[in-house]
């Protein structure tokens, strides 16, 4: 049964690549060259591998965040607002603690980021479980609100950088190495799989997610568990924001987190919310991104077509071609 799912996904991705290749052919470029450049750009050199990992890390963290919350019935699409809150917290703490020792600033910034993103994650959850309001509406509205608030802050407040041609924040001088980020992510991946499958809290989470009423009847405090899933989800997003801000950007750029939640959600759904599947889905999305970087630099394939190829891959990657009834009739396993 699980093998079939893997075959489905792989088959689907192959068909997607063929369809994308057709589109490239129709536009006058060579599909073989396109795909070879995509491969080269994602896995063909040390730099390419580094880029793929760099792009996959935020996706996998947000995919886990989405999945943890989703398993408890909280459809978490407010990742953008969590990212913005966390990064605002980092820069504000950085500005307020100028001149303090570096290690203290780093700890404070990371703590502030996590607290801000947890708070942002809790708001739609609280609205859903406390007031019965759809968390989708609250989440989407919060995304827009935080995007605008961030733009206002980096344009006009004490964290704004004066004299630049686009709005951006002041830089943060502390830095976290790419290696530390990668290692921490691997640790989180292993921890996630371990906790969800082998520990009691992880089991409780999945029970509550599958049937909250039954869980309540069995004596599990459903409400508390659901809210704690929001805390975990927010924490994961906070870690992602720390990685992006302190690892790569050091400055809040306008709209830097646009559609970041969509990517995480796509990876989660591509991987059928199973820990390894989500990791593979994130790697696929990360590879597509780093491959397309090389594609736009080396070939003349327009960027819109690269987007179309991405669209096709996602399109087909969860198609269940081989339907269960067909298998059962044929007597296959």
């Amino acid at each position: 049964m699980r093998n079939r799912k893997v075959i489905n996904s792989v088959l689907a991705i192959m068909i997607a690549f063929i369809m994308g290749g057709l589109m490239v052919l129709l536009s006058g470029d060579s599909p073989l060259e396109t795909y070879s450049v995509l491969l080269k750009g994602s896995f063909g050199s040390l730099n390419a591998l580094k880029n793929t990992i760099r792009y996959s890390i935020p996706v996998v963290l947000l995919a886990y965040s989405f999945s943890v919350c989703n398993q408890c019935g909280y459809f978490n699409i407010s990742h953008e607002s969590q990212m913005y809150s966390a990064s605002l917290a980092i820069v504000m703490v950085s500005e307020l603690t100028q001149g303090w020792p570096s290690w203290l600033r780093l700890i404070l910034m990371m703590a502030a980021a996590c607290m801000a993103s947890i708070a942002a994650c809790m708001i739609p959850a609280a609205a859903k479980f406390g007031l019965g309001v759809s968390e989708v509406v609250v989440g989407v509205m919060m995304n827009y609100l935080m995007a605008y608030l961030t733009k206002h802050m980096i344009a006009f407040s004490f964290i704004a950088q004066p004299g630049s041609s686009s709005i951006m924040s002041l830089p943060v001088s502390e830095s976290v190495g790419a290696v530390s980020i990668t290692v921490s992510t691997v640790v989180i991946i292993l921890l996630y799989q371990f906790v969800m499958k082998k520990t009691i809290p992880g089991y409780r989470l999945s029970v509550v997610g599958r049937n909250p009423l039954f869980a309540n009847a069995s004596g599990l405090p459903s409400m508390r568990i659901m809210l704690s899933s929001a805390v975990v989800g927010g924490l994961l997003t906070g870690i992602c924001a720390i990685g992006e801000m302190l690892g790569y950007y050091h400055i809040i750029y306008s709209d830097f987190a646009v559609d970041i939640g969509f990517n995480g959600m796509t990876a989660a759904l591509l991987g059928a919310q199973n820990a390894i599947g989500m990791l593979l889905g994130s790697l696929l999305l990360g590879a597509l991104k780093s491959g397309s970087v090389l594609l736009t630099v080396v070939t003349s394939v327009p960027a819109e077509l690269v987007d179309c190829v991405k669209g096709f891959v996602m399109f087909f990657a969860t198609v269940t071609f081989i339907r269960s009834d067909v298998w059962m009739r044929k007597g296959g396993k």
């Binding site: 041609s165 991104k289 960027a303």
Partner: protein, 338 residues
């Protein structure tokens, strides 16, 4: 059945890998020693602003006219792509790389440090410590100049004494244009007042039209739109309501054939081509910041074909232009008010 499927899948995978290995072999272009390979990395989509469209067209034309130059225009629309794309350009053998705006400043600095032989240029970079980077040249087109002239034209043409401004976003680049506009109006000093709005989008003509309609309803009879695609909506509103439209970087012959009083043209392509010319003729000035304006031929005020401005106002406006080119007028880059 399952084994057969697995086999076919394995074969397909192998084929794809083989194909990519084979095609990957011969596709690197042999580096002819004389050809200069130039990359232009834009943080905005090429079709989002008129000045950027003109820039890419100008660069393509330059490439056709000069055999020893190869120019590639690349979009880097997401923040996480700035550094990776610039570095990819460095590795692919481009010897001149031009980036855009302060968003890409950090990416440029990081790449310039690792590739000291590549000559970098940054457009509107506003880099403060430019002197520290010997292989980055910062060049800036001062859009306040043509906007100043536009303000003069608006103040001279208005009959109601009120003019409007619709900007795409409240940020440095647009506010530069606003600053010039307001100071131009103040220079003419005939009691004209201006109203400033930002429509928060460069791609929504419907909302641009609403903002312009609101300004017109408030008494403005000249609208200056600096908002890309949304500006086209503003031009339509001006045309429909019979008021005047002041354009930026383009002539709206399709959207507002009878409403234009002139366009504040900024020839970014002239500035970039001047930089490329200097660089390939061994006149690269790394670590410096250069300003371009009307005097350097990088900007100019143009009247439309059936322009609404009568000849005497046109003459007055061009006289201001000449004064600016001669350096007689000082224009600050901060808006007077919002």
């Amino acid at each position: 059945m399952k084994r057969k499927l697995k086999k076919t899948l394995a074969m397909m995978l192998a084929f794809v890998l083989l194909a990519s290995a084979v095609s990957g072999c011969g596709s690197k272009s042999g580096g002819e020693s004389e050809k200069h390979r130039i990359a232009f990395v834009s943080y905005q989509a090429f079709d989002s602003s008129e000045w950027l469209q003109n820039l890419t067209k100008g660069l393509k034309q330059y490439e056709e006219e000069n055999e020893n130059v190869e120019i590639k225009c690349i979009e880097a629309l997401a923040v996480d792509q700035y550094e990776t794309k610039v570095r990819a350009c460095c590795e692919e053998g481009f010897d001149i790389i031009i980036t855009t705006y302060s968003d890409m400043a950090d990416a440029t600095i990081a790449a310039a440090a690792d590739y000291p032989d590549i000559k970098f240029g940054i457009l509107q970079g506003e880099m403060e410590n430019i002197a520290d980077y010997s292989n980055i040249a910062d060049f800036h087109l001062n859009r306040t100049e043509t906007a100043f002239i536009q303000g003069c034209a608006a103040a001279l043409m208005t009959k109601t004494g009120k003019v409007g401004f619709v900007g795409g976003s409240d940020s440095g680049g647009i506010n530069e244009i606003l600053a010039g506009y307001q100071q131009g109006i103040a220079y003419i000093d005939n009691g004209t007042e201006d109203v400033v709005t930002y429509c928060n989008s460069f791609t929504d003509p419907t909302i641009g039209k609403e903002y312009a309609l609101q300004l017109i309803a408030g008494g403005c009879d000249v609208i200056f739109g600096a908002a890309g695609g949304s500006g086209t909506g503003c031009a339509q509103a001006a045309e429909e309501q019979g008021v005047m439209y002041a354009a930026c970087d383009v002539h709206y012959t399709d959207a507002a054939p009878n409403a234009e009083i002139g366009s504040a043209m900024n020839y970014f392509e002239n500035m970039v081509i001047a930089f490329i010319d200097d660089t390939i003729h061994d006149n690269y000035q790394g670590g410096t910041s250069r300003e371009y304006g009307i005097a350097q031929g990088a900007a100019g005020y143009e009247f439309a074909d059936n322009d609404l401005a009568p000849q005497d106002i046109q003459d007055q406006v061009m006289a201001v232009s000449e004064k600016i080119a001669a350096g007689e007028i000082e224009i600050a880059s901060e808006p007077l008010h919002k």
